[in-house]
């Protein structure tokens, strides 16, 4: 399969199934196991344009990491085809590898903890074919780009979580690849570090350098802020693909309520879902100690509002905070998947 010149990544009916062993709870050891098959990526068709910052959004287990591994040649697809930079991920693995830089969801993996940041990058520069003559300059340039030049000769194990992630980004950038596959690059980082990495990806890598970025995340607002286009995956299937604004517009015509309530049971949440006029509802624990639940309700129209308030009154549920809002990408996500991303 040859991709059109406009596209950096193309998948056609790509499918990947895993078989895993499950231990029976009544048995004491793993000698007694049965098999379970899970389709991680299910007949997925995607086209990502060159220079696009493409977000892949989905809950844990939606198939995001599996797709990244398929595209970087670590997993062969069971069915379908995929190409990266015009090269087939099964038949032209070496060309695919020369076209990509990858960050896996655990950022510090593959680093040698007793070497310095520079020492680690020097090793990876060699295996990524960065020419020996310009290697030092390239490493220092990349470290400068991510703001870690001053920490270049510090031992890796002394780096903070944010610095380790940045170094993983630097490693992916070493060979100056046209395509970057970034699997949850900000997971586990504090707000400041996450923002700094996001800004760098949006402004430096995407806008200035024109790189194609596939960015997987389960942080909805993160995807909404930086991505040109977003695909939503659920159980390995593509359920939506559009720009963040277009996805928000899917639910624009409806009303959204953001409510914090006290002492609401899961049964009451389920009952609320069935109240007339409630199009979708996502609930998560706001404060376990105070017994507060955060509800995000999308109403079919504003006429449903009295019925909702009546429900809270009858069920003796205390409203702590109540806001009427514009629909967000999260509302689109709830609309499409039936649940919030953290549920």
């Amino acid at each position: 399969m040859k991709a059109s010149d406009d596209y950096a990544i193309v998948t056609h009916n790509v499918t990947k199934t895993y078989t895993s062993k499950i231990r029976s709870p009544e048995r004491r050891t793993s000698f007694f196991q049965r098999k379970r098959t899970v389709t991680a990526v299910d007949h997925l068709n995607l086209k990502i344009r060159k220079g696009e910052l493409f977000g892949l959004l989905g809950r844990n287990g939606a198939g995001k990491t599996t797709l990244v591994k398929l595209l970087c040649t670590l997993l062969p697809p069971d069915e379908g085809t995929a190409s990266v930079n015009g090269f087939d991920v099964v038949k032209q693995q070496m060309q695919v590898k020369r076209s990509i830089g990858t960050i896996f969801s655990v950022g510090e993996r593959g680093f040698f903890w007793r070497l310095t940041g520079y020492g680690n990058l020097e090793f990876y520069a060699s295996i990524y074919n960065v020419p020996r003559s310009g290697r030092r300059d390239r490493i220092m340039n990349v470290l400068d780009l991510i703001g870690m030049k001053d920490n270049a000769f510090q031992v890796f194990q002394r780096y903070s979580g944010g610095m380790k992630r940045k170094l993983a980004l630097a490693r992916a950038l070493l060979p100056d690849p046209p395509i970057l596959l970034l699997d949850e690059p900000t997971t586990g980082l504090d707000v400041v570090s996450s923002r700094s990495i996001r800004d760098f990806i949006r402004n430096d890598l995407s806008k200035k350098a024109g790189k194609t970025v596939l960015y997987t995340t389960h942080y909805i607002e993160e995807a909404a802020q930086i991505c040109d286009k977003i695909a939503i995956l659920q159980k390995g299937r593509l359920i939506a693909l559009n720009t963040p604004d277009a996805l928000k517009n899917m639910v624009k015509k409806s009303e959204v309520l953001d409510v914090i309530v006290k002492n609401m049971s899961p049964e009451q949440v389920n009952t609320l879902k069935g109240v007339d006029g409630v199009a979708s509802l996502a609930a998560d624990v706001q404060d376990a100690v105070l017994g507060q639940t955060h509800l995000r309700l999308r109403l079919e129209n504003v006429d449903a509002l009295p019925g909702i308030l009546d429900f809270f009154f009858k069920e003796k549920i205390k409203i702590v905070n109540f806001k009427q809002e514009e629909p967000t990408l999260e509302d689109a996500f709830i609309e499409l998947t039936g649940r919030g991303i953290s549920e």
Binding site: F31, L75, P76, R109, F112
Partner: protein, 265 residues
């Protein structure tokens, strides 16, 4: 905090380890086998009265025999696990997404291990020569040739073991079987001639026997012509085991990639 609570915790620590341990079934079997065969090797070394008379046919002292055996066994043991050491699941994936070939990866990852092993052997031999009066008369060409063949053969074994380890995650039967075969039939600590006839025959089918027989000869002055028959058998074994190892390793790697278990522990 009661004694009962603490005992309960100890029980769950133990249960955690047993459950984890029981998932590595191959490893359990191999540990038992290693213990059994290890005991056999030392029994042969310690109890056989024929040892000195057999050694007379080697024209070297028992100290020289043992020193060369132990020194080069360290070398081969290192070679046997070199490829396994490179397959840390986390760094393996990082290397496999880079444009680096499998041969470069294996050779590159093994290089320092060989250099270090060579230094260790030099220390062994120096101690033997200077502290125990061991006399060596090294045939340099012969030594390089035999060592190269030995290493290549063991890299082959190592690749087979590493390949299986990629699939089983802990405990590869190849490394255990090779270690047992080396200790029992490899002419490392005692000549196979001190074993019962039926067991002696097995020695002639393991490359370690030819490696240790020839390395002792070239280190004590034998010419290439003298060792030629054993050397040819070693060449033949190497020509089979090395490519077989590469084939098994790449097949296991492909299988783990297909199953999505490459980064599992």
């Amino acid at each position: 905090m009661t004694l009962l609570q603490e005992l309960d915790k100890i029980y769950f620590f133990m249960k955690r380890d047993i459950l984890s341990f029981s998932t590595y079934k191959t490893n359990i079997l191999l540990s038992v086998l290693s213990a059994l065969f290890g005991a056999l090797s030392y029994a042969f070394l310690g109890s056989n009265a024929q040892m000195q008379s057999v050694l007379n046919s080697y024209h070297i002292s028992f100290t020289t025999y043992l020193l060369i055996g132990i020194a080069f066994n360290t070398y081969l043991s290192q070679s046997l696990t070199l490829v396994q050491k490179t397959i840390n699941p986390w760094s393996l994936e990082e290397v496999l997404v880079s444009p680096t070939g499998l041969v470069t990866f294996i050779v590159g990852s093994s290089m320092w291990g060989f250099i270090w092993s060579t230094l260790v052997i030099a220390i062994y031999l120096a101690v033997g020569v200077f502290a125990f009066g061991v006399v060596l008369s090294v045939n340099i060409v012969g030594t390089v040739l035999v060592v190269a063949l030995g290493i290549s053969t063991f890299i082959g074994f190592s690749m087979i073991g590493a390949g299986i380890l990629i699939l089983t995650k802990q405990g590869d039967p190849v490394t255990t079987v090779i270690t047992i075969a080396t200790n029992l039939f490899g002419n490392v600590l005692f000549p196979p001639q001190v074993m019962p006839q039926a067991l002696q025959v097995i020695s002639y089918f393991v490359p370690q026997y030819y490696f240790f027989t020839t390395i002792r000869q070239v280190l004590t002055g034998a010419t290439l012509q003298t060792i030629l028959p054993d050397l040819l058998i070693l060449v033949l074994m190497c020509a089979v085991i090395l490519p077989l190892g590469y084939f098994v390793y790449s097949w296991c790697l492909r299988t783990a990639k297909k199953n999505g278990t490459l980064s599992w522990f």
